[in-house]
């Protein structure tokens, strides 16, 4: 997804992936050190990283100021300022680990805090603005935070050296203790911090060799949030209670693109606790003393909607339109060799149509944000903010202030899966619009679950048509793929970068750049437009491209009479890391060993977000067509493992995400109105349905890459391929219930 901004914009990911040397960045001491302690920050030269990568200029020119990543307090706590949103993926812990390693800190003294919103200091180097997504957080922070940790360590050592009048070379640091062994003197970080803060920040620092890591790669570290999230004290945006705050819910058009025609608010205003009803461009806001009153007030509203510009088709009609569109050539995403000709000469040709439904993200914490206006015309936003750089700009334009007057207090987010990062700031913009219109108190906008399930920003509905062939020796010779689905980049600041020659990279990623060696490849794309709002959804394009590719390749293996693992291994000769995970997963899953009757295995392998994952699923299918996933084994190569414990959790969770939605989830519409409303009709995976998942991490010292999304793409196709092995049935239409399974 956005990860590709840099790839596509720069045309050279190496620019971003290249280790950054200390000389490329200057380390500056933070102005206004906190509590007399040491404040270390890495400051980018004006626009450096982003400019080199030619990231999109959706923020203004950088205004470099010292930025703080590390704070060491006199009480000996070390706080890492985390510029990314932690929505469960564990990045607060991950980034803190990176600093702690170079600092040689004791894990017990480490703390994490969300950094303030400031894209000039805290930009995601892949995006050019502050934001989280595309499984980029560790990858883009790796150099920056290692250097921040190493610089802080060097300053503490220099301070001890001066205080004890001993050479720096005789000082060691271990588990948060600075030591001069010869004279048997020690000091903790807190005791040195105040003096260390007075030193100049070193321009060059030595970074550790991976073999010396004690915390990075250590599976025994606990998450920083493992206590606060088990005793109810962790504060999410939903839990913010500002003095005098009111709660708002918003009545939105039941059809996407509809607008307010007329409002009768009389009954709503009679509901006890309702304070005001505001008719706004985004809908009708009910402002109340509490959430319950706001919800009851909205139920009492009578709103007539104008559907002139609304989507009035149902999903069946939309799909029929897509099928018509697929009769024609689309915009070219990949064209290698001559697929048409090669197919004509192929010994065996396999054809399939794949359908992927609209899907909601439905994070456990419904969307919400509190906006508190400030006397200077700006505001403070309390939210599980994922795109701070976008939100500041959008809210500034709503309030008529400068983006830097929009302060964001980022909170723990109760899941996101892509939903909290929107190119137009979406629900945060709504909250700002309501807060501005109401004007009297901080406004907490709450989405109910129904608002969430029916509120759009879905993974787009996609249709794929694939035709591929093998020669007489069973070698893959041609692959032709047509993809139809909405682009969520259309009309956003990202469109200019992400959509090239009519092809949105996020619609074809994983297909047009597939790793399988095929001499003749043709992929094209139609991006029809609809008022139905769509968005990246955990693993983005790979949610559908990997499925289509991996199920198709399985069919080709069957057509060629080859083993599914061997067939893939042979086609991945130029992709050693994909081969590596495939081999490991197959081994650990006992691939090839006989199973009891009614059970079968399936496999899938894919690269997404520069991380490599293979899944082997073992399923049983009963005579009613009920699929039970009995066991899942997966292997992941994400480079240097920073927190193995979190990697395991993310890949396991991604597996549940992939399988859960494939089993039965879809958002459908009738006459433009969404048929599902809550968890009774959009049914999440439940505990008893979650298979045991074994995660195996390939040892590596390559630069780390993300794990939030890459666990998703291969989970469902591995299950589908196992179902084929068990039943001979191919699952081309998702969810599985649309392919005759239960």
């Amino acid at each position: 997804m956005l990860h590709h901004l840099i790839k596509q914009a720069a045309g050279d990911v190496a620019v971003a992936a290249e280790p950054v040397t200390a000389s490329r960045r200057s380390f500056l001491k933070g102005a206004g050190a906190v509590g007399g302690g040491l404040v270390i920050g890495a400051m980018l030269p004006r626009g450096a990283f982003a400019a080199e990568a030619k990231a999109p200029t959706i923020i203004g020119p950088a205004d470099p100021r010292p930025q703080a990543f590390v704070r060491i307090a006199p009480d000996n706590t070390v706080t890492v300022l985390v510029k990314h949103l932690d929505k469960g993926q564990g990045i607060m812990t991950g980034l803190t680990t990176i600093v702690a390693e170079e600092l040689d800190a004791d894990w017990e003294q480490m703390r994490g805090a969300f950094a303030p919103a400031d894209s000039t200091l805290y930009a995601n180097h892949f995006f050019g603005i502050q934001g989280t997504g595309g499984s980029t957080a560790v990858a883009n922070s790796w150099d920056e935070l290692r250097m921040a940790g190493a610089a802080a360590r060097a300053m503490l050592v220099a301070t001890a050296s001066a205080r004890w009048n001993v050479p720096v070379s005789e000082i060691t640091v271990e588990k948060g203790v600075v030591r001069h062994a010869k004279s048997n003197r020690t000091a903790n970080f807190g005791a040195l911090a105040e003096d260390a803060a007075k030193l100049p920040v070193p321009q060059k620092v030595a970074l550790k060799d991976a073999k010396d890591y004690k915390l990075v790669g250590n599976p025994s570290l606990h998450r920083l949030d493992h206590v606060s999230k088990t005793n109810g004290t962790a504060i999410f945006a939903m839990d913010i209670r500002r003095p005098g705050q009111v709660t708002a819910v918003l009545a939105r058009s039941p059809r996407f693109g509809g607008t307010v025609k007329s409002v009768d608010a009389a009954a709503a205003k009679q509901v006890p606790g309702v304070i005001d009803v505001l008719t706004l461009p985004v809908g009708v806001a009910v402002v109340a003393k509490n959430t319950w009153a706001a919800i009851k007030g909205r139920e009492a509203l009578k709103v007539e909607w104008d559907d002139a510009k609304a989507e009035t088709r149902g999903t069946e009609e939309i799909l029929a339109d897509y099928r018509n569109l697929a009769e024609k050539q689309g915009n070219v995403a990949a064209n290698k060799g001559d697929a048409e000709k090669a197919l004509a000469g192929a010994a065996k040709v396999v054809e399939a149509e794949f359908v992927f439904p609209y899907l909601a993200h439905a994070p456990m914490e419904p969307l919400n944000a509190t906006v508190e206006l400030k006397p200077d015309g700006g505001c403070t936003i309390y939210a599980g903010s994922q795109f701070q750089g976008v939100e500041q700009k959008v809210v500034a334009s709503i309030l008529g202030c400068k983006p830097e007057q929009v302060a964001i207090e980022t909170q723990w987010a109760g899941g996101s899966f892509g939903r909290r990062a929107t190119p137009n700031a979406d629900y945060i913009a709504e909250a700002a619009i309501i807060a501005k219109a109401y004007g009297k108190a901080p406004v907490h906008l709450v989405w109910t679950r129904e608002d969430d399930i029916q509120g759009g920003r879905y993974r787009p509905l996609f249709l794929h048509k694939i035709k591929a062939g093998v020669d007489a020796q069973g070698k893959l010779v041609a692959w032709q793929q047509r993809i139809v689905g909405q682009s969520f980049m259309t009309g956003t600041p990202f469109e200019a970068v992400m959509v090239k020659n009519g092809v949105d990279e996020t619609s074809v990623e994983g297909a047009s750049d597939m790793a399988y060696a095929v001499p003749n490849l043709a992929v094209d794309l139609h991006s029809p437009v609809s008022p139905v709002t769509t968005l990246w959804w955990r693993s983005v394009g790979h949610t559908h491209t990997a499925y289509a590719k991996e199920v198709m390749i399985d069919e080709l293996a069957a057509a060629a009479g080859k083993d599914p693992v061997a067939f893939r291994m042979d086609l991945l000769k130029d992709s050693p890391r994909l081969q590596g995970v495939l081999k490991l997963a197959a081994e650990k899953a006992d691939w090839g060993k006989p199973l009891p009757k009614g059970r079968a295995r399936g496999v899938a392998v894919h690269e997404s977000f520069d991380t490599f994952v293979a899944h082997v699923a073992e399923v049983s299918v009963n005579d009613k067509g009920q699929v039970k996933v009995e066991r899942v084994v997966c292997a992941v190569d994400c480079g240097q493992a920073v927190n193995p414990n979190i990697i395991e959790a993310q890949i396991s969770g991604g597996t549940g995400w992939g399988i859960g939605h494939a089993l039965r989830d879809e958002i459908t519409m009738t006459g433009g109105v969404v048929d599902q409303a809550n968890f009774d009709t959009y049914q999440p995976l439940r505990n008893s349905e979650m298979p045991p998942v074994e995660v195996h991490i390939l040892p590596s010292t390559i630069r780390p890459t993300g794990v939030g999304e890459p666990g998703v793409p291969t989970a469902a196709p591995a299950v589908a391929n196992a179902v084929f092995a068990a039943t001979g049935k191919r699952l081309h239409h998702l969810p599985f219930t649309k392919s005759g399974m239960v």
Binding site: I235, P272, T291, A362, M364, G414, G415, R449, W657, G660
Partner: protein, 152 residues
């Protein structure tokens, strides 16, 4: 005015009698550990104990809880609660964490009644608690770990 006994304390709240207990806790009493997830008793994020039984606060009108003993995540205590919270921390169960108050409340109720739950006991007790992060394997492992610790 409605009087509710929450975590051992009597609390008087001025709310409509049909206001769900969830909103009484969250909006009137500022006890935000109990979460809003779906509002229709489908996700379990709002799970509290009413007289020891795991109950969805979003579908519990305030007046129906009068005269009962309500326990929330902020007030749980005892052997099962301690074992469950310790196991959750030991195994780093949480990801986003939003559902975990409810998961823990359901797990504590389960272990209080059943010191050695089988997998199907866990399925029955925990299937009402949704976790979109799919932390389910660790939830299951933590319940078993806690059961073992309690038996020890």
């Amino acid at each position: 005015m409605i009087r509710l006994n929450i975590n051992g304390q009597d609390r008087d709240v001025d709310v409509p009698p049909d206001m769900p207990l969830l909103w009484v806790l969250r909006d009137e009493l500022n006890m935000t550990g109990t979460k809003f997830g779906c509002g229709i008793a489908q996700c379990g994020a709002c799970t509290v104990h009413i007289d020891g039984t795991a109950t969805r606060a979003c579908q519990t009108p305030a007046e129906s809880a009068v005269g009962t003993k309500i326990t929330t995540i902020e007030g749980i205590s005892g052997k099962a609660a301690e074992a469950i919270q310790a196991a959750w921390q030991k195994l780093d169960v949480v990801q986003c964490g939003y559902c975990q108050s409810g998961q823990i409340m359901s797990a504590v109720a389960l272990l209080t009644d059943n010191h050695n739950p089988s997998d199907s006991d866990i399925d029955a007790a925990m299937d009402g608690n949704v976790c979109r992060c799919a932390t389910y394997p660790r939830i299951r492992a933590a319940i078993k770990d806690a059961a073992k610790a309690m038996g020890a």
